[in-house]
């Protein structure tokens, strides 16, 4: 504790207790008569000193944490509390100062702050690493899909047998559908959702350029599905479109193909309609490989797959529950 004379010039110390002397390392005769600023040093913060001076000028009490220095030069954090003492006439005659060494608390605070900053840095680094890894994996998946696609095309080119060629081409179209999904998934900002309408536009862009005689109508509402469903749905749609081109739209005939995506009563409904021969007379298709995998994919998607007579042609309806 210190008491300074508020009426003497430059506020000299007129009393100190032993606790003050123990805290600062000075002898009593070294501090009496001096202004308290001898405790300040190179790292004492200017704004804090200024706040102290302002409070004293206004005759107000104040609390400040400031960095002070002992006689031996070691710094310590001083939680300083200054209160004015007035005489009967209201004139400030003394200031009483109480000092508490809070170096340990300050160190703990600083350590906490440093730990928090370090944690933030680590988290940021982890995020950066994760993003870089994601890009790297994305890059590799794309390149590998490209390699698989090119291999299939290369082998198709060298295959003379019609049936083998057709099988290779079907596989190529399936792999391409998955490739289109992957290209789109990472282009979007939301990695969790997949835009079905954009996929169908992409898919038809690739399919249609070989079949200019077909009039393609797309009637697509924007529908987002979970990314995990993207590949199976894309494959199923690809099979339905492929089926329409193979059986409904004979090459050379100026046929019509209509694809519609819409929401209906908590479901997403995807319709692929051609104007070909339609359902067989007994209403049952030969279960080819394409139909088999479409049925399996529909099961996986918890979707229903129906074939109806179009007017004319065939209408394939894939109806899957909408989530969110």
């Amino acid at each position: 504790m210190t008491i300074v004379d508020a009426q003497a010039p430059d506020l000299p110390i007129v009393f100190v207790n032993d606790a003050f002397l123990n805290m600062t390392g000075y002898r009593r005769d070294e501090v009496l008569g001096r202004n308290c600023r001898f405790l300040q040093g190179p790292d004492t913060e200017g704004p804090v000193v200024k706040a102290l001076a302002q409070a004293i000028n206004k005759g107000e009490a104040t609390n400040q944490d400031l960095l002070n220095y002992r006689k031996d030069g070691t710094p310590f954090w001083n939680a300083l509390q200054i209160s004015p003492v007035r005489n009967a006439a209201g004139l400030i005659v003394y200031y009483i100062g109480s000092q508490v060494d809070v170096t340990a608390r300050k160190a703990a605070e600083a350590a906490l702050e440093a730990a928090a900053a370090e944690q933030a840095r680590t988290a940021q680094q982890a995020l950066a690493d994760r993003t870089a890894l994601l890009h790297e994996v994305d890059h590799r998946v794309k390149n590998n899909l490209q390699l698989i696609t090119s291999l299939l095309v290369l082998q198709t080119r060298r295959t003379l047998d019609d049936a083998t060629r057709a099988a290779l081409q079907s596989m190529l179209s399936r792999v391409s559908a998955i490739a289109t999904v992957h290209r789109r998934l990472f282009q979007s900002h939301d990695l969790e959702r997949f835009d079905v309408a954009t996929f169908i536009r992409d898919l038809m862009g690739d399919v249609s350029s070989g079949r200019e005689e077909v009039d393609i109508r797309l009637d697509l509402e924007r529908v987002d599905i979970a990314a995990a469903q993207a590949a199976p749905l894309a494959l199923a749609v690809n099979e339905l479109v492929d089926n329409a081109f193979k059986h409904g739209l004979t090459p050379g005939r100026p046929g019509r193909l209509r694809i519609q995506v819409r929401r209906l009563n908590g479901h997403y409904v995807i319709e692929v309609c051609d104007d070909g021969p339609g359902l067989p007379e007994n209403g049952v298709f030969e279960p080819g490989f394409g139909l088999t995998i479409t049925n399996l994919l529909a099961q996986q998607l918890r979707a229903t797959l129906q074939f109806e007579a179009g007017e004319p042609g065939l209408r394939a309806i894939l109806k899957l529950p909408a989530h969110g």
């Binding site: 490209q146 696609t149 290369l154 080119r157 536009r201 350029s209």
Partner: protein, 153 residues
């Protein structure tokens, strides 16, 4: 009839390069060379003076395709088209390239893009908006008048 366009393929995956060669011929162009790394790419571009260079970003000497593309576009006078799985890593100006096709691409997308570029080069203007799968750089959108076309439609 004008002469077919000459194409240099810069791709370190040999199978992809072979298949690209087929697509180049199917689009009515001529493949004049194939480079696996950036040094070869720049050297071949300067010697062969191709009309078009198809450039992957990742080559056998590392992610050097962007620098090679810039050198080929500026010093060899070829029109560069990027073909990469790393579309997001390309600089904003596409290093002087006319555009980019993202991998995995389809054979149709490549044929369409090449046919489109051939028309652009022969006429000095685009025959229409770029086909699906091909994204043009801003400067080539301006050069080939694609912007006015998009507005006119």
């Amino acid at each position: 009839m004008s002469r077919p366009l000459s194409v240099l393929i810069v791709e370190d995956e040999v199978l992809l390069a072979v298949e690209l060669g087929f697509l180049v011929r199917e689009a009515g162009c001529v493949e004049v060379g194939h480079a696996l790394d950036s040094a070869d790419a720049v050297r071949l571009a300067k010697v062969l003076k191709p009309d078009i260079a198809l450039v992957d970003v990742h080559l056998s000497d590392g992610p050097t395709g962007v620098d090679a593309a810039r050198e080929i576009a500026e010093r060899a006078g070829a029109i560069v088209l990027f073909m990469t799985a790393n579309v997001k890593r390309l600089p904003d100006d596409l290093a002087g390239a006319c555009g980019v096709i993202g991998k995995p691409y389809s054979d149709r997308a490549v044929r369409r893009a090449l046919t489109f570029l051939a028309r652009c080069l022969q006429d000095g203007a685009a025959p229409g908006p770029p086909p699906p799968g091909l994204a043009l750089s801003d400067s080539f959108v301006g050069r080939w008048g694609v912007e006015q076309m998009a507005q006119a439609v």
